[in-house]
Amino acid sequence: MTGLASMRPTLVGIAAAFATGLVIATPWFVAEGNMRLMIEIFAVFAFAQGWNFLAGYVGIMSFGQQLFIGLGAYFLFLASNWTGANPFLILPLSFVFSALFAAAISPFVFRLRDAYLAISIWVVAEIVRLFISQRDALGSVSGLPLVATREMERSLVATSSFYYAGALALISVFGLYYLSISRLGLALAAVRDNEGTASAIGINVWWTRFFGFVLGSGFTGAAGAVYYMSVFHVEPGGAFDPNWMVVMLFIVIIGGVGTVEGPIIGTAIYFLFRAWFAGTGNLYLMLLGSAAVLVMLISPRGIWGVVKSKSGVDLLGARHASGLEAAAKKSRTIS
């Protein structure tokens, strides 16, 4: 048991290598149409994992993460259209831009707590959406096309987008796992659980929260850029749509907040629901809502939370095993 626990980072590493190989091989086996669906699934999964990271690992509840989806997408479109640069090359800058924007608003939103903080980021999202909607240079309400991809070869665009989306998904699983067991992950968890005690053991709480917020929001920005790059068009009403927030909440709550595995389950359920019921209009939204409420009533820690506590299986949890309990049990049976 202890042996397995201490080997876990290595086992996860093997799984990560295998998954990376799978992503790299996919374009050779999967038709372009299916690849498009996979890009969408991976990007939405990354949105959800970005929010899960903030809510479950950093302890920042934000109801405005659509802000960063939109910012990442708009940065990519504008930077590429204005400079003529290849969007695939400048995409990582969407992470940087969104992260910088998060850093810039932190001093203001961090003055607020809990629900006020959550809403304040939503307010910022609405302000940015209105700002863009009223400026022709930014495409106003009808949005922007991605000019550079028009001259590129279709299959190259699809493959490149898929690799970026695959990278997002891999980071959402394995990056989050390794981050959570790292020194930074431990500091974030401490701040999440008890800010006063975190200070008392030498953690700079403000900077730790700041770093978590900037990292998570930057990641969401990169995911937003990938999502809209793959559809070649962005408009403020879609990119800054609060419904993105509903999707993230649904996926994370139903799967299990604060776990790597939960949003994987949540994303699968979300896309299955969509495939089966999307044609049913309002009924579909009511189904999503009822499913989330049902799961919350049964287990506030989501489906994976139940599975984990019932089965004792913990694949990607941020656990540091002490190695003490086994030793303590052994000495007890001897004496």
Binding site: N194, T197, G202, I203, R319, A321
Partner: protein, 244 residues
């Protein structure tokens, strides 16, 4: 010998309540100062000021002769201050081991051997068998043990203990006294405690406060026999007895 930690003229009010009224004391390495006083006297508030969780309205706080009155809480920990909370404040979702590991890691005084330090502290505080249980689901007594374990894992130079003996059995009190006695030679300890026989066994001096001001100070025997202390404690006993 120069004191490790000292306060001069510490004063703080919460509205009409005075929790520290021109308090001064100093504690050297290898020394233990006990603090007693009735509930609400301001003992925990003094710790909150020492640790940097709240600011005094007047007075200075020194660590190794350096004025830390304006120093932030986490920076004081890095300078060597470690505290326990009277009401346990663990990282609830983290295991006992992770709680202590975090303390060993972020106090930066156990570089390269954080896990070993965390394990040894858990063994010494009797938490080894509970090491991998989330702290939030530990019973109260274990959460109190975890307070001491976490503070020890900081490897502090000044250890602030806030009522850690309450609720222990007599045998456990004996163990606790032995543990703190073993820590004492390398640290300056300030210990707030109602279990006065435990405190008297370790403390070199005791400071008695009421309404934030000093009512007596001296050796444990002197303070326990001091008329002002007897009056306050008899008073509380008489206040409480008819209700109980």
């Amino acid at each position: 010998m120069a004191p490790v930690v000292s306060v001069e003229g510490l004063t703080r009010r919460f509205g009409a309540i005075t929790v520290a009224d021109d308090l001064s004391f100093a504690v050297g390495s290898g020394e233990c100062l006990g603090i007693i006083g009735p509930n609400g006297a301001g003992k925990t508030s003094v710790f909150n000021m020492l640790a940097g969780a709240i600011r005094p309205h007047a007075g200075r706080i020194f660590l190794d002769g350096r004025d830390i009155t304006e120093t932030s809480q986490h920076a004081r920990t890095l300078l060597g201050l470690g505290r326990t909370y009277q009401v346990p404040q663990p990282f609830g979702l983290l295991t006992a081991f992770e709680n202590v590991l975090a303390a060993a890691t972020f106090s930066r005084r156990s570089r390269g051997e954080e896990a070993e330090v965390a394990r040894s502290v858990l063994v010494r505080t009797g938490l080894a068998a509970r090491a991998d249980v989330p702290a939030g689901s530990l019973p109260l007594l274990d959460r109190k043990r975890l307070e001491l374990a976490r503070a020890m894992a900081l490897k502090p130079r000044v250890l602030l203990l806030d009522e850690i003996a309450g609720g222990l059995t007599e045998a456990e009190v004996v163990q606790l006294v032995a543990l703190i006695g073993a820590l004492k030679p390398d640290l300056a300890i300030v210990w707030i405690e109602h279990v006065t026989h435990a405190l008297s066994a370790v403390a070199d001096r005791i400071l008695a406060i009421n309404f934030g001001s000093r009512i007596a100070e001296g050796t444990p025997a002197e303070v326990m026999a001091h008329p002002a202390v007897l009056e306050v404690y008899m008073g509380t006993v008489l206040d409480v007895a008819p209700r109980g």
